[in-house]
């Protein structure tokens, strides 16, 4: 019995020894490029027939952090034709994601919505609520469905209201009738739009 106790003590001491060899983590995860994330969106309204383009940037530097971000106001001239170009960026990798969205046009669609009356063409309040409502798309995917990175707008009388843009990722889901409710949201921004 005495011998047994000795062995027990020996084992105990050894295990204690092992336990005290606590290891510190010495290897951090490799840095990753946040390729997924769009954290900067630039809207450029170029007036037809010359004039200074109006560019508005929405930036979300802390991504999934909790601090809110604000979008600046868009100010356009009344009764003017504009071409709107939308660009998406990833500031972490300094990457322009617009091309990727464009190349995968058959998986992406940009929907627009606004306060009724802001524009004389298209009329109405956009295709976020009703898919078939008018939006003047200039770009189409390989299935002849709109992508929405380039659109035309004619402003109405002086007024102000909301202007909302939703980029949807609809892999295998995009059809002539697929609405804003289909697929995952890549971008959903609402701006204050002023026409003067």
């Amino acid at each position: 019995m005495e011998k047994v106790t000795k062995v027990k003590m020996l084992a105990l001491a050894l295990l204690l020894g092992l336990g005290l060899q606590s290891c510190s983590e010495d290897e951090a995860p490799a840095p990753e490029n946040e390729e997924e994330v769009i954290d900067k969106v630039v809207l450029t309204f170029t007036p037809d027939g010359g004039g200074n383009p109006i560019a508005v940037t929405a930036l979300d530097p802390d991504g999934e952090g909790s601090s809110p971000f604000e979008t600046s106001d868009i100010t356009l001239s009344a009764s003017t034709n504009y071409t709107l170009g939308v660009e998406f960026f990833n500031t972490a990798t300094d990457e322009n994601i617009t091309e990727e969205v464009s190349a995968e046009g058959e998986e992406h669609m940009t929907f627009y919505g606004w306060t009724e009356g802001l524009f004389s063409d298209p009329t109405g309040n956009g295709n976020i609520d009703v898919r078939d409502d008018d939006v003047n798309y200039l770009d189409y995917d390989s299935n002849s469905l709109p992508v929405g990175l380039s659109t035309t707008w004619k402003t109405g009388e002086a007024a102000s209201g909301d202007f909302r843009l939703v980029l949807k990722h609809q892999p295998g889901l995009k059809t002539a009738t697929s609405t804003v409710e289909v697929g995952e949201t890549d971008v959903d921004l609402t701006f204050n739009l002023i026409i003067e």
Binding site: K3, V4, V7, K8, L10, A11, L12, L14, L15, L16, L18, G19, Q21, S22, C23, S24, E25, E27, A28, P29, A30, P31, E32, N33, E34, E35, E36, V37, I38, D39, K40, A58, D60, D62, G63, E64, G65, S66, S67, P68, F69, A92, E100, A103, E104, E107, V166, H169, P171, G172, L173, E181, V182, G183, E184, T185, D186, V187, D188, L189
Partner: protein, 808 residues
């Protein structure tokens, strides 16, 4: 780094030193007792002759098949069991088992007899409530999971993400509050979040035992709600080559697969191997296809055993690779997407049946190796083992472009474990175990996910030593107590959103305690057990940051501070000391009563868990991102109480079969604000009727059962705030929380439902086992409160399952 081989050497040295100091028992007071049965009918076989090989000793079993041979000078010997009309069986009786059940095969049959032995009572949970899953349920199971199979026991339920990903829940606790022991080894996996199930191949499992209630003293941290013990049968000595082939399939999901196992045992050496494959496509709910709900699993196991008198060495290698799809419509983006996904039925992206498993999906594999040695000396048994586990997990989300083929989570977890346990003989009237345990884990994110790691890299070292003792009294009662000390050290290195490195260390010391009492009075027996249990917070609870396979953004305890409006600010990564991070501690109390009279048997189990610094997720507001508005969840701490009651009554009608009624109730409350918790299983009632018929047509035995299960709606659920209410509040610029950050759910608890299931098992000459079962016979559409898929889709509809098992 550690010298792992050193620990193995230590154990071997210890064991060898023991074997040298063994003494022989010359008092000749060993004995053996057991029961002889007919293999075919399972009935006791009277008057078999039982002798000890190469001696004159022996006896004849009594009318009930029971035999007892006393005054043996050796502890180990070969038993020879014979009976007229039956094949003679030789069974090697060793010191590790007691009371063998011997099944003799008739001369006319092809099969040989078998012996079933219970392990000697290992103690340490004798006063705890223990439930065992019926072996026949595991053996011929088709396309199921550990979570699902153990939820057939009272007090046990499951938490799941669809049919493929399910983990067990005991007494309302799950995840890191439940310990899974795979052949004695802590099953090490990515055990955080609700959507990570243990990678366990059920085909290699022969026994599932559930210990309900805190068991930290014997098993270490995390054994708070209970322990699930998974065991594979040891290879038997003196056994000619034998094997089993099983083919199985099911109609829902068009699943198919099979298993093959072989075993053989000689005088000293025995081994077995087995392999398993199963594949299933999309399952069907009553109204629509559940697109991308398929799964595929391949696994195998090899065990080897060397046995010498009183000395035993055994090794296990097992591997499983699982691929599990998650219903396509269940992974969504911002609040509006969530609202749409919850409203749309069938879920978005629903297509026709397919075996394809696209995104979202999980791919996991798990390797377990273990070498164990044990040595018996007089009434002591010392056991030591070393085990190594490698767990790899990849999770694929729906992503843009080429990223769709890249996992968003890619983790590798290495685990080493060493344990030494001494089961000692009676010392001053106390019997029990003393032992120690050492575990080292290293978890790493693999490069190339193109997204910031959701959890950091970490290393975790822990060791503990324990003692559990019991004292039996003459009036059929027993007192049990246990003590344990644990040390744990967690070291973390991770990347924040800007790819800057952060680090953190957490050192914990803990004492656990357990006391229990058991008493038998005629038809009545009572077990009372009270204990403490603990666990260190897991890395996800401390460090998670962002969105992962859900529609909420989650911040771990160390990723936020609350501002004056109780809104989380996520500027810095905190140190564990900043928030005074400590262990979560539980105080649990369990009582179980058993009453047997005439043809009735009643079991009742009452429990209460009081948990301090209970970590749970709760909402903390809304954040605007480029992708729209997301709800923010934070990990928070509170004190909680989770009590409940469950039980079962069996009544035997003799020739008319038997019935059983089971019920299960669990309650949970946050003691800080009085609110409920999400994921407490609702009240459940089961009724089953079973009947056995012998000798019908070509079948020797047919066992059939019909089961009716009713699950009530969970009324003890948190308040509901739908995503639409959030969107409306945003649009109207109102504050939906209005200062109330108590827990809420996005959807009401699902309605009550009733399921009808049928099962029949037929045997031919104890060589063919044919099982046929139907689940959800009425094709009821229902949703399970503790299944995350309930927000988006129904559970599968009617399913016919069949399996054929052939033994040779």
């Amino acid at each position: 780094m550690l010298n792992k081989s050193r620990s193995i050497v230590v154990i071997i040295v210890i064991l060898i030193s023991f074997s040298t100091l063994l003494g022989q028992n010359k008092n000749c007071d060993f004995f053996v007792e057991g029961t002889v049965y007919d293999l075919n009918t399972g009935e006791p076989l009277p008057y078999a002759t039982v002798t000890i090989k190469d001696t004159q000793k022996g006896t004849v079993a009594d009318e009930q098949g029971y035999f007892l041979i006393k005054n043996l000078c050796e502890e180990e010997f070969d038993l020879v069991i014979s009976h007229v009309g039956y094949k003679t069986l030789i069974h090697h009786h060793d010191a590790y088992h007691e009371k063998p059940d011997i099944y003799l095969a008739a001369e006319s049959e092809y099969l040989k007899g078998v012996t079933v032995e219970g392990q000697k009572n290992v103690g340490a949970y004798q006063t705890q409530t223990v439930e065992i899953v019926d072996k026949s349920v595991i053996e011929n199971s088709v396309g199921t999971t550990l979570g699902k199979i153990s939820s057939s026991l009272p007090g046990v339920s499951m938490i799941s993400t669809g049919t493929n990903i399910a983990k067990p829940m005991i007494h309302g606790l799950y995840g890191n509050r439940i310990l899974i022991l795979n052949n004695g080894v802590r099953h090490a996996f990515q055990n955080w979040g609700k959507d990570h199930a243990p990678e366990i191949d059920l085909s290699v499992v022969d026994k599932i035992t559930v210990v309900k209630g805190a068991s930290s003293v014997r098993y270490g941290s995390e054994a708070m709600g209970g322990v699930i013990l998974i065991e594979s049968d040891q290879p038997e000595l003196h056994e000619k080559l034998k094997g089993e082939v099983t083919l199985k399939g099911e109609t829902n999901g068009k699943g198919y697969g099979g298993e093959l196992s072989l075993s053989s045992g000689g005088h000293r050496l025995a081994a077995n191997i087995s392999g398993n494959y199963y594949r299933r496509g999309d399952m069907n709910s009553p109204d629509y296809n559940l697109t991308n709900s398929g799964m595929e699993e391949i696994g195998g196991k090899a065990m080897i055993r060397y046995h010498k008198e009183r000395f035993d060495v055994n090794g296990i290698v097992s591997y499983v690779d699982q691929k599990a799809g998650i219903v396509k419509g269940s992974v969504v983006g911002n609040l509006e997407d969530l609202q749409n996904a919850m409203e749309n039925e069938p879920p978005e992206g629903t297509t026709d049946f397919s075996y394809d498993i696209n995104t979202p999906r999980q791919e996991g594999n798990h390797l377990l190796t273990k070498i164990q040695a044990s040595q018996n000396f007089s009434d002591n048994l010392i056991t030591g083992f070393y085990s190594y586990q490698l767990n790899k997990r990849k999770e694929f989300d729906i992503r843009r472009g080429t990223n769709n083929d890249i996992p968003s989570i890619d983790l590798e977890l290495n685990t080493h474990q060493v344990e030494v346990n001494l089961m000692h003989e009676k010392i001053i009237g106390l019997e029990g175990n003393v032992g120690m345990q050492w575990i080292y884990q290293d978890n790493n994110n693999l490069e190339g996910t193109n997204t910031t790691p959701f959890v950091p890299n970490y290393q975790n070292t822990s060791f503990g030593f324990y003692m559990t003792e019991s004292k039996s009294f003459e009036n059929n009662s027993m007192f049990e107590f246990g003590l344990r000390y644990d040390y744990s050290f967690l070291s973390v290195l991770g990347r924040d959103f800007n790819q800057n490195i952060f680090s953190g260390d957490l050192e914990l010391n803990n004492f656990s305690l357990n006391v229990g009492y058991q008493k038998d009075i005629e038809n009545f027996s009572i077990k009372i057990n009270a204990g403490t249990a603990w666990r260190p917070p897991n890395v996800a609870e401390l460090y998670s940051f962002g969105k992962h396979q859900t529609s909420v953004i989650t911040y771990g305890l160390l990723r936020y501070t609350l501002d004056e409006n109780f809104f989380p600010v996520t500027e810095n990564v905190l140190d564990p000391a900043d928030k005074n991070i400590g262990a979560e501690k539980a105080y649990t109390f369990n009582t179980s009563l058993r009453y047997a009279i005439k043809n009735w048997k009643i079991d009742l189990n009452l429990f209460a868990n009081y948990i301090t610094d209970y970590i749970y997720e709760k909402p903390a507001g809304i954040t605007e991102t480029v992708r729209g508005a997301f709800p923010i969840y934070i990990y928070s701490r509170t004190d909680a109480i989770i009590p409940g009651i469950n039980g079962r009554a069996n009544v035997d009608f003799g020739n008319f079969g038997y019935s059983s009624i089971r019920f299960d109730y669990t309650y949970g409350q946050n003691l800080d604000d009085g609110s409920a918790f999400i994921d407490i299983p609702p009240f459940r009632l089961n009724f089953s009727y079973n009947k056995e018929i012998d000798d019908v047509w070509i079948f020797n035995k047919i066992t059939s059962s019909i089961e009716l299960e009713h699950v009530f709606r969970q009324n003890n659920a948190p308040r509901t705030i739908t995503p639409q209410e959030f969107i409306d509040a945003e649009n109207n610029n109102t504050d939906i929380f209005n200062g109330d950050f108590s827990i809420f759910d996005f959807k009401d608890a699902p309605k009550a439902y009733t399921l009808l299931n049928f099962d029949v098992l037929a045997t031919i000459k104890s060589q063919f086992f044919i099982r046929f079962s139907v689940e959800n016979i009425m094709n009821t559409d229902y949703r399970i409160y503790t299944d995350r898929i309930r927000y988006y889709a129904d559970e599968p509809g009617v399913n016919f399952k069949a399996s054929v098992n052939y033994r040779f």
